[in-house]
Amino acid sequence: MAGRQRIIVAKPGLDGHDRGAKVVARALRDAGHEVIYTGLRRTPEQIVSSAIDEDASFIGLSSLSGAHSHLFPKVCQLLRASGMNEVIVFGGGIIPEGDRMALYEEGVRAIFGPGTSSKEIVAFIDHASERECGVGASDSWFWQGM
């Protein structure tokens, strides 16, 4: 297993459903990572500046509001603009299949929908942390399950 990571778990946009984000945060904690939970209704700017201050290596975005196609790419773009190219972005929530490819192309490396096991998310973190797949990497890889 790769070492301990610092992971931001964030809820971008106007969405008050954070049960999923809390369960993921808890699973990552139990896998030995340091998870910084930012709370509800954060802007992409706030999420990126938290990642800068906390020296995070991963950002997990949870959205159930339908605004993921706007908010997730915005976070990726802001990270690149801030020179945070090595940060790895993953997402989850209610993300329709048809929206996913566009998010991968923007630099999101995994999308986890309802029913995903916490084991799989932990496996993704372990795998991705050993691969140079930050938002600024030219790698077009994305997680396709265990």
């Binding site: 610092r6 808890r26 904690r29 990572h33 998870v35 930012t38 706030q46 201050d53 906390e54 020296d55």
Partner: protein, 290 residues
């Protein structure tokens, strides 16, 4: 106000127009990992401690609204590391609305710290981080300890001033008579005064503390409503240290110096695994760490 502050805070007004937050964040990580020696800085270090849920984060946020952008303030918010997995859930950012204010943001650096292998509510590495942040031109570093109980006085080793937060409905009057962190407090703040019972707590604490040689002031605030926060922000900056706590601080410093030497002498996690796996014993680990 600046002249007053210059007196209260050694090295105040060092000036810092531009903060490379990313470089600073990486330095903090390197110090935490033991890969970088901290720079030596001077300034004021305030420790804020109290039981879980008593309002430490919320109160610090309210104080940041008063102190910034006039002062440059760094906050080290400590949360516990899981003794089972070694992971941590760091949730102190949630309360920090002052970071969302573009006028204040540049004057604040908030970092969430996990206790990792260290014991107590404030890991020893925090003292290195404070020194480094003060060397990076912060006027003030605030340590928010893990939600802490009566006997938890570790932050006294690192902070120049100790502020203990209390709240209503936290037990009867005997709680205020018990020994521990209250004896080291330079200031006692009863938060949540918008809730019933706050006056009773203030009275009980004042009556008990008045029996001390140098009783700390007890103040009543509501971080949520903003009551009493502005005077509190001023009081903290000119707070006098209780001289009776000096010996206890030295005791804590000695304890952490010992703990640090022990933890740095080995791979602590591997040692725990090895005892758990029956490959060594506590005695053999202690022998090899000498």
């Amino acid at each position: 106000m600046n002249a007053e502050l210059a007196q209260a805070i050694p090295g105040f007004g060092k000036g810092c127009d531009y903060l490379d937050r990313r470089a600073l964040a990486k330095e903090i990580t390197a110090i935490e990992e033991g890969l970088l020696k901290p720079d030596v800085g001077q300034g004021l270090i305030i420790g804020i401690t109290g039981a879980p849920g008593v309002g430490k984060s919320c109160l610090i946020d309210a104080l940041l609204h008063c102190w910034t952008p006039g002062l440059k303030v760094a906050v080290l918010a400590v949360d516990p590391t899981s003794p089972i997995s070694g992971g941590a859930l760091l949730g102190d950012r949630i309360r920090m609305t002052s970071l969302d204010d573009s006028e204040r943001r540049e004057s604040i650096y908030l970092r969430s710290i996990a206790t990792r292998s260290a014991s107590g509510s404030t890991p020893y590495i925090v003292s290195d981080l404070c020194s480094h942040l003060l060397a990076r031109d912060f006027d003030l570093v605030v340590i928010e300890t893990v939600g802490a109980g009566q006997a938890e006085i570790r932050c006294a080793a690192m902070a120049d001033r100790i502020i203990v937060i209390e709240g209503p409905s936290r037990g009867d009057g005997v709680q205020a008579e018990k020994a521990g962190i209250l004896e080291l407090a330079d200031l006692v703040v009863v938060n949540k005064c918008d809730l019933p019972g706050a006056d009773v707590v203030v009275n009980q604490l004042s009556m008990s503390l008045d029996l001390d040689i140098e009783p700390p002031t007890v103040v009543k605030v509501s971080a949520l409503k903003g009551d009493g926060i502005e005077p509190l922000a001023k009081t903290i900056l000119s707070l006098k240290k209780r001289t009776t706590s000096e010996k206890a601080r030295i005791r804590e410093r000695l304890m952490i110096a010992n703990e640090r030497r022990f933890l740095e002498s080995m791979d602590f996690k591997a040692a725990v695994d090895s005892i758990h796996g029956g490959l060594s014993t506590i005695e053999s680990i202690m022998e090899s760490s000498k």
